[in-house]
Symmetry: C2
Subunit: 325 residues, 2 copies
């Protein structure tokens, strides 16, 4: 298998196309193909393949376990979309909208089972280790999602609480994606731990970047309306930081928009963005993102593997850092 | 470990009490304790312990895997209750009523993960086999639930379709419960296959008994209102059989109540029960139940294990057959 990003991506997309999880009843299995084929960057399974490539050239054996990560990720999207009442995912109707909530619950459930099934493609000697790590990660993702929901009704969320939440909801799976490559590559426990840590830190940076792009991204490139998080009153890193650093004047504006019964939604995005600009929230967030990415890359540098192999993974991670969508 | 039913039940209930799946966030983990402590017969984990006892006296090692089956079962209840919009479970508010739908989805998700985690307590050499069998069973349970939902909007469901649906939705897990005991007891593939078949057949009989008790059970003993399935227009074995055997006169009554816009819901239970009585549906169903139980017991008799050990499992299964609730 040639180890360039486009060729690996090609392998993964072929795997998505070919993988038949089941056929009957079609209402259960069609939503799985549907959500997996909505696109997406395949970031997580790519991480697994690139991580595996640090230790072996035989990447074939990593494809199905990598797909387990992708299937699990899409299971969480399917269920999260129900909880968030999201009508669209990547510009297309969400599963609970296209079918119904019951089908979205049940298709998601069977996807979680299929993720475990794909992990069974690990070498026998690695199954226990792989599943235990996956269980740990999967529980954390659920914990993070519940915390995120709790934040909605919480008056004040601290920076530390927020970072903790995203370290579970988003970053744990990126950590597992890299960890899994280490497990498949049969590397040392120390290397595996560095890989996981790298993924977690990159994952936190990745989520903060998401928060940032929602407000300061290029609408066309991001592919969704700017300021969606602001309209949805989401307690993002940007908002938390703004609350933390605002002078009484700006605090008043924040409170008006997020706590009061103000009906000024038309100007909400504009006014809040102005507050962010006045408080240098963009720069503060970028600095934070960089610090997490740097920490992640530092962890990667500690993994004992050939430098030229690590550079592909490093370059890929850096592209994530500089992404515009 | 003493191998009487009450002592095994005691062991399982202690395990339920002691098992802490997690603590934070509490909204995620409290519903798990809640649903597991609503009671229930612990039928499935008992099956696993009794099945294990055919091959070994060391039942300690079967307790956590048996709990995996119970946790999985309760995960399906938690999610099914959302889909069925059920307000009560064993006389208490369902999780989505007591908390909310999002929490019921997410707690259920993490329960499925925890079921896998409990299976990791299997001996290393048995993990792959155990998880593969569990994956197969779990997929079937989801398929059966989706079929059951599809039946709601289907005009005609045949007896064969119905039996196929319950063989997936209900019976597959009873099959796995017994199969798992065979895996833990390291018995032959032939024995394991007979155990699974026994569980599936007993499971089908068990579900048909459920259908029967809904109409002909003792209200106090069953603990819920008689005729709930009739009011909910559920396509049970009884209704399918009535449609199949009804003369034009009775077909008219059935159509009136289940297909027309008749408002006669007050007399619905009474009138449908009368139709069932006239068509001997009770006897027909009892005959069917007996045939599945007999098939199940025949499979059990083919399992190579000491007769006196098999008799406990056989007696327990027979009690299920003669249950009044």
């Amino acid at each position: 298998m040639i180890q360039t990003i486009p060729s690996l991506l090609n392998t993964l997309n072929k795997e998505v196309e070919q993988n038949k999880f089941g056929s009957e009843p079609s209402e259960l299995y069609e939503p799985i193909s549907y959500i997996l084929n909505l696109g997406g960057k395949r970031l997580r399974p790519l991480f697994t393949l690139l991580s595996t490539s640090l230790f072996t050239t035989d990447l074939e054996k990593a494809v199905k376990p990598a797909m387990a990560v992708e299937v699990f990720h899409n299971f969480t999207l399917m269920h999260d979309d129900i909880m968030d009442k999201a009508p669209l995912r990547r510009g297309k109707p969400t599963v609970h909208e296209k079918w119904n909530t019951s089908t979205a619950i049940l298709s998601g459930d069977v996807m979680l089972v299929k993720a475990y099934d794909l992990l069974m493609d690990l070498e026998d000697a690695l199954i226990k280790k792989g599943i235990l790590a996956f269980n740990d990660c999967a529980s954390k993702v659920c914990e993070g999602q519940q915390m995120d929901m709790n934040f909605e009704s919480k008056k004040k969320v601290s920076e530390a609480e927020y970072i903790h939440m995203i370290s579970l909801k988003t970053a744990a799976l990126l950590g597992f994606s890299l960890e899994l490559g280490g497990i498949i590559g049969k590397t040392s426990e120390t290397n595996i731990a560095f890989l996981r840590e790298a993924g977690i830190n990159i994952g936190i940076g990745f989520q903060l970047m998401d928060d940032l792009l929602d407000v300061f991204g290029d609408e066309e490139k991001v592919g969704k309306q700017k300021g969606g998080d602001i309209l949805a009153n989401k307690k993002t890193y940007l908002l938390i930081k703004a609350y933390e650093t605002a002078s009484p004047k700006y605090l008043e504006i924040l409170k008006n928009h997020f706590e009061g019964n103000s009906k000024t939604t038309t100007n909400k995005i504009k006014e809040i963005t102005a507050v962010y600009n006045n408080l240098n929230i963009k720069e503060i967030t970028e600095k934070k993102i960089n610090s997490y990415f740097d920490k992640g890359l530092k962890c990667l540098s500690k993994v004992e593997a050939p430098l030229y192999k690590k550079s592909i993974l490093k370059d890929f991670s850096q592209k994530l850092m500089n992404r515009e969508s």
